[in-house]
């Protein structure tokens, strides 16, 4: 036999590629994640797994269809809201669901190292019009307000943006245009634009979850090629969090040093006035205000609750008086600036958390998670959902 027909090869390439594009698009229409509770390390970027915006939107659709008439509560935020250290059954967002009851449905899209509107904020914006009573609840620490396109999870923002899942916001469009000149992620955005047509990220992420993962990662080693749905929540096999002073003592001095460098505590955003009292500088307040304005488009701020999660009082007691004062000022200023921008705010700096509520400096033990769930549930119930206005597209 001679060589295969070149025309048939070309036709086959087009058919094979186009079929993959169609299959990729089809996978975005259903919730592929069985019994989804959170983005644990096997379902996020630490193990080179990047769920797409469409796939996370489908999780919300699957778990809480719009016709259910439940109030959808989309959680964002960092590892504290992600329940770092808490096993699946101990997860604070499960306690929140129980506390809120059947009228609400809580879905947790928080992720380690995420900013206030990464992941959860992006998905909330995608869903805001379809779910006019949906609420967004996230956590951060005062002074850390990166826009969703300027963070470690910017890939998800661009995925949603390029697919046209986000609402039209003239302010954001103008900002993205301005940033284009100085941006160094043009190749990255190009790949997401290509994906919005070819759906390769959607298809192969689905294949990794359902059938076979296609590359080796140092986290998973021998289990790298197993389909992700077979890997249970990473925290389930971790040792239980021991919340006592002897454990905290072992964390000194590294954790204390890290706490000293956190934005609310570090001195570089503060100055001492003529009386010697610490005040946040006008420049850093202005910067915070500008960053807060870029978090979410109008009018989604009114449907959003930002929680300033607490620090372990055992570690706070090891700080100097000046450091504690700066932290208190940061929490107060952050609350004021966010409320001024239209957000609901829950500051838990002084909400009765004790050392046994923590696993380290910031992450909560199961008991701390339950206390957080109660405080957040009370705030959610007190939010005025009657004033919700769907975002325009």
């Amino acid at each position: 036999m001679k060589y295969p027909s070149p025309i048939a090869v070309c036709v086959g390439v087009v058919v094979g590629f186009a079929t993959c594009c169609v299959l990729g698009q089809l996978t975005t229409r259903k919730n592929i994640y069985q019994d989804f509770a959170r983005l644990h390390p096997f379902l996020e970027q630490e193990t080179s797994y990047y769920p797409t915006a469409s796939q996370l939107v489908a999780v919300a659709h699957g778990q809480c269809p719009p016709a259910s008439h439940k109030t959808l509560v989309v959680l964002g935020g960092n590892s504290v809201f992600n329940g770092s250290g808490q096993k699946r059954d101990e997860l604070w967002s499960r306690a929140l669901q129980e506390d809120l009851g059947d009228h609400y449905h809580v879905v947790n899209f928080s992720a380690p190292g995420a900013g206030a509107v990464d992941n959860g904020g992006v998905i909330f914006e995608c869903l805001a019009r379809e779910y006019p009573t949906a609420l967004f609840v996230t956590n951060t620490e005062p002074g850390y307000y990166p826009a969703a396109n300027r963070s470690a999870y910017s890939y998800l923002f661009w995925d949603a943006y390029c697919k046209g899942l986000l609402s039209h916001d003239a302010r954001r469009t103008a900002r993205l245009e301005r940033e284009k000149a100085t941006s160094d992620d043009a190749d990255f955005k190009l790949s997401r634009e290509l994906n919005s047509v070819c759906y390769f990220n959607d298809l192969w992420t689905y294949v990794s979850y359902r059938y076979v993962s296609t590359f080796w990662t140092s986290w998973l080693r021998g289990r790298s090629f197993q389909p992700r749905h077979r890997l249970r929540d990473w925290y389930d096999k971790r040792p239980k969090v021991v919340a006592d002073e002897s454990e905290f003592q072992k964390m000194l001095p590294d954790h204390l040093e890290a706490l000293r460098h956190r934005r609310p505590v570090a001195a570089d955003r503060f100055a001492q006035n003529s009386n010697g009292a610490w005040v946040q500088t006008a420049e850093s307040l202005q910067q915070d205000e500008e960053h807060i304005a870029d978090l979410l488009p109008d009018p989604l701020q009114r449907r959003s609750l930002i929680v300033f999660t607490p620090y372990n009082p055992w570690f706070l007691a090891h700080l100097t008086e000046a450091e504690r004062t700066r932290a208190e000022i940061s929490y107060a200023n952050g609350t004021h600036l966010l409320e001024k921008a239209g957000f609901h705010v829950l500051s838990t700096y002084d909400s009765g958390f004790s050392p046994s509520d923590f696993g380290d400096t910031v992450h909560l033990s199961p008991a701390g998670g339950r206390l957080l769930a109660k405080l957040v549930a009370d705030s959610i119930r007190s939010m005025d959902t009657a004033s919700n206005i769907p975002a325009g597209r």
């Binding site: 060589y3 295969p4 025309i7 090869v9 070309c10 590629f17 079929t19 790949s191 298809l203 192969w204």
Partner: protein, 40 residues
């Protein structure tokens, strides 16, 4: 018969290449290191 085989084998090879190219785009789009390792 031989012509049909040439066309069929060519088509199958083409499909495999098309699928591989689609997968390649996915792999190229992934960062070599997670973004959070750069951010923190």
């Amino acid at each position: 018969m031989k012509t049909s085989l040439r066309i069929l084998s060519g088509f199958v090879i083409g499909i495999a290449l098309g699928v591989f190219f689609h997968y390649l785009l996915y792999r190229i789009s992934l960062p070599s290191e997670p973004f959070i390792y750069f951010a923190f």
